[in-house]
């Protein structure tokens, strides 16, 4: 009786692209659920719009390029892009903005460069950055946490531009904590005074810190599943922690605490889900540490001295460009060859 033998390795994990992408999607679910809990149904609508746009624009480009549709559409990479973008957007952005950002991410950032595996920039974050520089006013409009819009209000805001029950969108929206801190610092309030602001929670932005905590849990699950390695998240958060501690100790009156930096804004989501994108990140372990540290430092620089309240999008994009160079200089020595 013939036995089927195959060459080594004999133990392997079935980690094809679609399995990895599926696990990333699973890891995003709890964070998104908590996001909906605090920010209302707009998040769900954004996820739906983004997913539909991502799949249809991917299909469109594949059709134009005469490529088979099924493998690329079913590997889930377009969905991951869509969900990450939707998780980064305010639940108040109009529908066409979500569509435009997702279509830009898939068509220009991903497919024009050759599709999954060839894109130098993370599609989701590039789509987000495109929206951020094109429509600064709408992108800065976040829900005030005092009252969440219901399902119908959210639908009306996204598709008509105004809620149903309250007269204006302004009644429901407010600045984010990062924005508030930045503006108050400009008006020479001290951090201690700003901390009395109702947007402050336990460590950073109220509610957002809880959302980020759940995204952190999802990220840790990805680490446990070995979908991502520890180097990039640890380097991003570690460098941000170190540099913000340094300035916090230097003068805690004008530089907020390191914990504030970690839990407010998009650092956790960025560190675990976006910076770890295997296509656009550095690939050697040493390179990953450099790449992650660069992101953390850039986030701090942009937040503290730059023009935007949060800098994770630009930090990731800037380090995406440097990833090939980092890889070049951190190639591990091949066994048996001199250094």
């Amino acid at each position: 009786m013939p036995f089927k033998t195959s060459p080594s390795p004999f133990l392997y994990a079935p980690t094809d692209t679609s399995a990895i992408m599926r696990q990333v999607l699973y890891a995003l679910v709890p964070g998104l659920v908590i996001y909906v809990y605090f920010f209302g149904w707009g998040v769900v609508i954004n996820v739906l719009i983004a997913s539909l746009t991502a799949l249809s624009s991917e299909a469109l480009v594949l059709w134009l390029r005469n490529r088979p549709l099924r493998p690329s559409l079913s590997d889930g990479s377009a969905l991951v892009t869509a969900w990450l973008l939707a998780a980064a957007l305010s639940p108040f952005v109009p529908w066409w903005m979500t569509m435009l950002g997702t279509a830009f991410a898939i068509i220009v950032v991903k497919q024009l460069y050759g599709g999954l595996g060839y894109n130098p920039f993370n599609p989701a974050i590039a789509g987000y950055a495109m929206l951020l520089i094109s429509f600064p006013a709408d992108m800065g409009k976040w829900p005030a946490l005092t009252s969440q819009p219901g399902m119908l209000d959210s639908l009306s805001i996204i598709f008509n531009g105004h809620p149903l029950t309250v007269p204006t969108l302004d009644a429901l929206s407010g600045a984010t904590l990062l924005d508030t801190v930045k503006n108050s610092l400009k008006q020479s309030y001290t951090i201690q005074e700003i901390q009395q602001h109702p947007l402050f929670g336990y460590m950073g932005a109220k509610s957002v810190e809880v959302i980020n905590g759940v995204f952190l849990l999802g990220g840790l699950w990805l680490l446990y599943k070995r979908v991502i390695s520890w180097h990039i998240p640890v380097a991003v958060m570690g460098s941000l922690f170190l540099i913000s501690t340094f300035f916090f100790v230097w003068d805690s009156g004008i530089y907020p605490s390191p914990l504030y930096h970690l839990v407010s804004g998009g650092v956790i989501l960025g560190a675990f889900f976006i910076a770890t994108d295997p296509v656009t990140a550095a690939t050697s372990n040493q390179g990953r540490l450099i790449y992650g540290a660069g992101i953390g430092i850039l986030v701090y620089i942009i937040r503290t001295w730059g023009g935007y309240p949060d800098g994770i999008a630009f930090a990731v994009l800037l380090m995406n460009i440097t990833a090939p160079m980092i890889d070049y200089y951190t190639q591990p020595r091949v066994f048996g060859y001199p250094k």
Partner: protein, 212 residues
Amino acid sequence: MTYTQILYDGLWKNNTGFVQLLGLCPILAITTTLTNGLGLGIATLLVLIASNVTISLIRNIVPVAVRLPIFVIIIASFVTATEMFVKAFYYDLYLVLGIYLPLIVTNCIIIGRAEAFASKQTVGHALFDGITMGIGFIFALGMLSGLRELFGYGTLFANADLMFGPAAQFLTVTVFENYHGFLLAILPPGAFFGLGLLIAMKKAIDLRVGIK
């Protein structure tokens, strides 16, 4: 070299904007509105015609060893004259175009055509080459700046009166009422995306028609 060949080369096959990719600096920097794009395009056309003709006229008396400095001096004189002309008669346009007007002197199209074409051809050919290449450049600038203005501001020919006087205000078309504005198209990345898409479109047309 026949005139039809020169015409086809300048407008399409060797279009300075889409194929030779010369003069990228003004193409990317100044094409935020159709008026700006056309203004710079016309200035470049004038310089190109004048320098092509002059260089073709003196082509037999210029020593080969020092031809490039001589070309540069000729081009610089024409650029300075054009700049002064625009400054004198279209001051608002001069303010908008700013540094890009004197920078025509560094535009590779002009020295490129001088070296590669005008210094070897008769005056008639050189004149015609200057016209077609310049119009090809205006065509590229016009396409790109039109697209960027349309998507960025939702208008076409905004501030047309800067170039053609108050009578030209009817040219300004508001294509989308209450347009949200799409900053990316106006910012520098929009120029790169726009030019890339236009080059792709040109290639697609060539493929469809079957031109190699």
